[in-house]
C-alpha cells in the first residue's frame, strides 16, 4: 500500500510545481467532486437559514403530517414523525460532513504524529508503534466499534450530564473513527520519513543543533504533507460510511439529532409505505463518498502521476 520510500520525496517535490492545481482540475473526477462537495457543504452550512425560510425546524414533530409526499410546504415530503425531509437532510448533512471531516483529520493527526516518531526516532519506538499498527489493522473493526459505541461513558467516570448530552454522541463517534483510522497515515508518514531522514537537509538541521521535535515538525512534516493530504481526503469517505453504519444501527448520532445514517434507522419498516424516505439520505451518503473517493484519486494522480496507477 505505502509508496516506495524514494517516491515520497519525488511526490513532495512535484507538489510544489506550479502545474499542480491545473493538473488536479483537469482530472475528470475532480471537477465533479469539488462541485458536488461544494453544493452539499453549502447546503449544510446554510441549513438553519433554509429551515427558517421554509418555516420548519428539523426536530419539530407533526403527527398530523406524517409521511406526506412532496408539496410546496414540504419540498421532499415528511418522515414518519411529520418532520420536513429536506430540512432534516440539510441538518443531517451538517453532522455527517462534520464528523467525516473532523474524524478524518483527527485520525490523520494521530497517524502523522505516530508516523513521524516511528520513522525518525526509530529503534524501540518504531518497533512498538509498528506492532501496534499491525495489530490494529488485523482487528475486526466493525464489531469492536459497535462495542465501543455501546459502552456506558458513566462507567468511565464521565459525569452523567456530559455522557448523555446530545453532543456527546458526536464527540464519541469522532473519537472512535480516529482511534480506528490512524494506521494508514501512520504507515505512509513513516515510509516518507524513512526516505527523508538521511537526506542532506536533515543532516544539516541536526548539525546546527535542531532538536528531534523541531526536525520532525519543521523539516520532515512539510515534506510528507502531500501523501497525508491524499490519504486524508480518501478517508473522509470511509469515515462518513462508518458514521452512517453506526448511526443507522442506533449507536452513533442519537435522536432527535439527525445524521444521514440515523435518518435511515427506521427506514426498513417504511420500505412498503414510503420508500422515498429511505432513498434520499442513502443517496446523499453515496454521492458524498463517491465525491470524496474521486477527489482523493484525482489528488493522488495530480500529486504523483506515476504511482497513481499502481495504488490499491
Amino acid at each position: 500500500m505505502s509508496p516506495a520510500p524514494t517516491m515520497t520525496a519525488a511526490i513532495a517535490a512535484r507538489t510544489r510545481q506550479p502545474g499542480f492545481a491545473r493538473r488536479l482540475w483537469r482530472r475528470p473526477g475532480a471537477m465533479f467532486s469539488i462541485v458536488v462537495l461544494g453544493i452539499l457543504g453549502t447546503g449544510a452550512l446554510l441549513a438553519p437559514l433554509i429551515g427558517q425560510a421554509l418555516g420548519h425546524d428539523p426536530e419539530m414533530v407533526d403527527l398530523l403530517a406524517r409521511l406526506e409526499g412532496p408539496s410546496w410546504v414540504h419540498p421532499l415530503g415528511t418522515d414518519e414523525l411529520g418532520r420536513d425531509t429536506l430540512v432534516r437532510l440539510l441538518h443531517g448533512g451538517r453532522v455527517s460532513l462534520l464528523v467525516g471531516l473532523v474524524g478524518a483529520v483527527a485520525a490523520a493527526t494521530i497517524g502523522t504524529v505516530i508516523g513521524l516518531m516511528a520513522g525518525y526516532l526509530g529503534g524501540r519506538v518504531d518497533a512498538l508503534f509498528m506492532r501496534i499498527c499491525d495489530g490494529v489493522i488485523a482487528l475486526p473493526m466493525l464489531p469492536l466499534l459497535i462495542v465501543l459505541a455501546a459502552i456506558d461513558l458513566e462507567k468511565l467516570g464521565i459525569p452523567a450530564g456530559i455522557a448523555t448530552s446530545e453532543d456527546a454522541s458526536v464527540y464519541r463517534i469522532v473519537a472512535l473513527v480516529a482511534l480506528a483510522g490512524w494506521t494508514g497515515v501512520a504507515r505512509l508518514v513513516r515510509a516518507g520519513v524513512l526516505s527523508l531522514r538521511e537526506r542532506d537537509f536533515v543532516v544539516a538541521a541536526v548539525s546546527i543543533g535542531c532538536g528531534p521535535w523541531r526536525i520532525m515538525l519543521r523539516h520532515l512534516l512539510p515534506n510528507t504533507l502531500s501523501p497525508i493530504l491524499v490519504a486524508t481526503t480518501l478517508s473522509v469517505g470511509s469515515v462518513i460510511l462508518v458514521e452512517s453504519v453506526l448511526s443507522f444501527l442506533g449507536l452513533g448520532i442519537q435522536p432527535p439529532m439527525a445524521s444521514w445514517g440515523s435518518m435511515l434507522t427506521n427506514a426498513q419498516e417504511l420500505v412498503t409505505t414510503a420508500p422515498m424516505v429511505a432513498v434520499y439520505p442513502g443517496l446523499l451518503i453515496f454521492v458524498t463518498v463517491v465525491a470524496c473517493n474521486l477527489l482523493g484519486d484525482a489528488l493522488q494522480e495530480a500529486v504523483d502521476p506515476q504511482q497513481a496507477g499502481a495504488r490499491r
Binding site: 482487528l139 475486526p140 459497535i146 462495542v147 456506558d152 442513502g282
Partner: protein
C-alpha cells in the same frame, strides 16, 4: 522462513491474548450489569443482597482478578451461559459460524470470479472507454453504504417486483435447497456488489504494473500470443498480491457481513454480535467478539504467510 513464521504466529497469539483482556474490559463497561438486571427483575432485593450477590459472583474484585478467573474457565472451554438464548454461549456459536461461512464463501467466490476477467480486460485496455466504465462502476461499489444497498435491493426485488424474499433464511422448518438458495440471493448480491469493486481495482492496478515490466516486453518480443502474455505472464504476477487481499477479505467478511446479516435477518456471526451487545448478553458478546477477533487475526496471518510462501523475495527480510 521458519523464523519468519514463528515470529508472525507469536505476534498473532500475543495480539489475540491482549484483545481478550481488552474485550473483557470493554464488555464490563457496557450499560447495565448482571446484578442490575436481577434487581430490575426482583425489586425486593435489598442493598445488602446486592452486595452479597456481587461478592458471590466476584463482581466486587478488581478487573484483572476477574479477568484471570474468566480466563481460567475459558481455557477449559467454559464460557458461561447466554442470557438471550438460554444455552451455553459456545453452543450458540457453532451454527452461526457455519451460516456466516456459507454466506461469505459464496460472496467471496462470486466477487473473485467477476473481478478477475473484468480487471484483466480493463487493464489490457487501460485508458479506453471500457476501462473508464469499469472504473466508474468500481467507484460506485466501494462508495455505496452496505445497509442502504441492502435496503434498495429489498425495496426493488422483494417489495416492488416481489421476485425474491427479503429474509436471508426461509421460515419453513425443512425448506429444501432451492428455497434456501432463493433466500440467499439478495444477501449474497449485497455483499458481492460491496466487495467486487475493491477486488477489481486491486487486480487492475497490479496488472497495469505487471504489464509495464521488462519481461512482458520480452514475452511480446519473442512472439508469444498477446492473450498468452496477458493471462500467463502478467496475471500470474499480478495475482500474487491479490492472494493477500482475498485472505484479508475473508477476515473482514467474518464481521463485515454484520450489516448485511442484520438487514436480512440472517442468523450469522455478525448479527449475533450485534444482538448480544444490544441485548446485554455479556457472556455471548464476549465469546463471539473474541472468536471473530481470533478468526480475523488468523486470516491476516494466513495472508502474510501465503504471500511469503508464494513470493521468495519477501522471505529474505
Amino acid at each position: 522462513m521458519n523464523r519468519f513464521l514463528v515470529h508472525r504466529v507469536l505476534q498473532a497469539a500475543v495480539l489475540v491474548a491482549l484483545m481478550s483482556f481488552v474485550c473483557y474490559g470493554l464488555i464490563g463497561l457496557m450499560p447495565g450489569d448482571p446484578i442490575d438486571l436481577l434487581l430490575s427483575a426482583d425489586p425486593r432485593l435489598t442493598p445488602e443482597d446486592v452486595a452479597r450477590l456481587k461478592a458471590i459472583h466476584g463482581l466486587d474484585r478488581p478487573l484483572l482478578e476477574r479477568y484471570l478467573a474468566w480466563l481460567g474457565k475459558a481455557v477449559v472451554g467454559e464460557f458461561g451461559y447466554s442470557r438471550l438464548y438460554a444455552q451455553p454461549a459456545a453452543a450458540v456459536l457453532g451454527p452461526r459460524l457455519a451460516n456466516t461461512a456459507l454466506l461469505m464463501g459464496i460472496s467471496l467466490a462470486a466477487a473473485a470470479l467477476i473481478a478477475l476477467p473484468l480487471a484483466v480486460a480493463a487493464a489490457a485496455r487501460a485508458g479506453t472507454g471500457f476501462d473508464r466504465a469499469v472504473n466508474a462502476l468500481c467507484f460506485a461499489g466501494i462508495s455505496v453504504p452496505t445497509f442502504w444497498l441492502a435496503l434498495i435491493l429489498i425495496m426493488v426485488f422483494a417489495v416492488q417486483l416481489g421476485w425474491l424474499p427479503a429474509a436471508g433464511l426461509p421460515m419453513a422448518r425443512d425448506p429444501g435447497l432451492l428455497e434456501r438458495a432463493r433466500h440467499l440471493v439478495l444477501p449474497v448480491l449485497t455483499l458481492t456488489v460491496a466487495s467486487v469493486g475493491g477486488h477489481v481495482r486491486y487486480i487492475r492496478a497490479a496488472m497495469i504494473e505487471a504489464l509495464g515490466q521488462d519481461y512482458i516486453r520480452t514475452a511480446h518480443a519473442k512472439g508469444l500470443h498477446p492473450r498468452r502474455v496477458l493471462w500467463r505472464h502478467a496475471l500470474r504476477n499480478a495475482l500474487l498480491p491479490y492472494v493477500t487481499i482475498l485472505a484479508l477479505d475473508c477476515g473482514a467478511l467474518v464481521s463485515g457481513a454484520l450489516v448485511t446479516e442484520t438487514m436480512f435477518g440472517y442468523p450469522g456471526m455478525g448479527k449475533l454480535i450485534f444482538d448480544a451487545v444490544m441485548g446485554n448478553d455479556f457472556n455471548l458478546a464476549l465469546l463471539a467478539l473474541l472468536l471473530v477477533t481470533a478468526l480475523t487475526v488468523a486470516c491476516n496471518l494466513l495472508a502474510d504467510v501465503a504471500y511469503a510462501a508464494l513470493d521468495p523475495r519477501i522471505r529474505q527480510r
